[in-house]
């Protein structure tokens, strides 16, 4: 049922997207990072798969073409989502993972809590994440204060509903 062509197509498109992303980001990081990531990893490759499916329609029945398209799309989407979801800790330099790395480098007796605090500059832990929200268009300046945009409100609502389904309040951050 699944052919090696299905797997290789997905892997090839994912590898191409990853290469493009690395080259682009090393030249200049775009201001709307998540939007650009979705374009590179989801929209672009899906357009390629759609174009290939349209070409295949001349030679194969539509149901077979649609099936092959869905099989390749699902594989590609799952690979791309793995990277897209890993990107926020890569970009933000996840503090928990930074603590783990610092402990791995430390002597066996570990670190004092004060030394752990000093791994992180006091003034940037919150402000950099706030800048991310501005750049992503989730937060904006209105009259005399910062407020969240419609997209930001949508995201906040999504997470609130998600946590409600699980019966939990939002996390501590």
């Amino acid at each position: 049922m699944i052919s090696s062509t299905d797997i290789l197509t997905g892997l090839g498109l994912f590898a191409t997207a990853l290469t493009l992303h690395i080259i682009w980001w090393r030249r200049r990081v775009p201001s709307r990072e998540m939007l650009c990531l979705c374009l590179i990893f989801l929209v672009g490759p899906e357009v390629v798969l759609l174009a290939a499916a349209a070409c295949a329609l001349a030679a194969s029945p539509p149901s077979a073409v649609l099936l092959a398209f869905l099989i390749r799309s699902l594989f590609l989407i799952s690979l791309s989502l793995i990277y897209i979801m890993t990107y926020p800790p890569i970009q933000a330099g996840c503090p928990s993972l930074k603590i783990i790395l610092a402990l791995a480098k430390a002597k066996p007796e570990g670190l004092s809590v004060r030394e752990v605090y000093q791994l992180f500059p006091e003034d940037t832990m919150l402000s950099e994440r706030f800048e991310d929200l501005i750049n992503e268009g989730l937060v904006s300046w209105r009259y005399d204060s910062w407020g969240i945009s419609a997209a930001g409100r949508g995201l906040a609502t999504f997470f609130r509903l998600f946590r409600r389904i699980l019966g939990m309040p939002l996390g501590e951050g």
Binding site: I7, L74, S96, K98, L101, L126, G171
Partner: protein, 190 residues
């Protein structure tokens, strides 16, 4: 045969909902893993437990269609697709639990505006780090003895190396990137 193929695609696509369903059952029905320090464990359990129903569905798919043969490529494909969706679910949950950005958005959504000074007073560097230390202790990753922390299981060491390895590959000059980003955000406000 055609219906058989469509059923396989349905199993693969539906596998994306399995971690949420299992997490719902674990959290809502059994009431387990709802304490703040235990929540990530619940999400990991839901992700890992999902291999059972997805594997079971695959086995049923193979056994109920004697004409078709489920080969290793089919199993491997389904394993990759489920792993991708399960991993995505775990990270989505993690974002709702640990992300500073989501906490800022939630505060803005509640109060209608974001008071940065107030946020900085309520959410200090020390508090952010203490929360993370508590979570790492609960996961058994580190050990805490009064004012010292030591290595625990350190299962997150490999993911940490991968994440920070990618970080230095993608952002070879972090200072330049931070400056550009700050400029971008200022332009957004002017």
């Amino acid at each position: 045969m055609d219906a058989h193929c469509w059923l396989f695609v349905f199993i693969a696509a539906f596998s994306g909902a399995v971690p949420l369903l299992l997490h719902f059952l674990i959290s809502r029905v059994t009431g387990a893993f709802r304490a703040p320090a235990q929540r990530q464990k619940g999400a990991i359990l839901a992700f890992l437990a999902g291999y059972l129903p997805v594997g079971g569905a695959f086995l049923a798919w193979v056994l109920t269609n004697p004409g078709a043969r489920g080969n290793l490529l089919d199993a491997g494909y389904l394993a990759v697709v489920y792993t991708g969706f399960g991993y995505t679910y775990f990270h989505l949950f993690n974002m709702s639990e640990t992300a500073r950005r989501i906490r800022i958005l939630a505060q803005g959504d509640r109060s209608g505006k974001i008071g940065l000074d107030q946020l900085a007073r309520e959410y200090t560097r020390e508090e952010m780090i203490d929360i993370r230390l508590r979570r790492l202790v609960a996961l058994g990753e580190i050990l805490r003895e009064q004012d010292r922390v030591r290595r625990g299981r350190m299962l997150l060491l490999i993911p940490a190396r991968i994440v920070f390895g990618f970080r230095s590959l993608i952002f070879p000059q972090p200072e330049r990137w931070e400056r550009n980003r700050a400029n971008d955000s200022r332009r957004g406000t002017s």
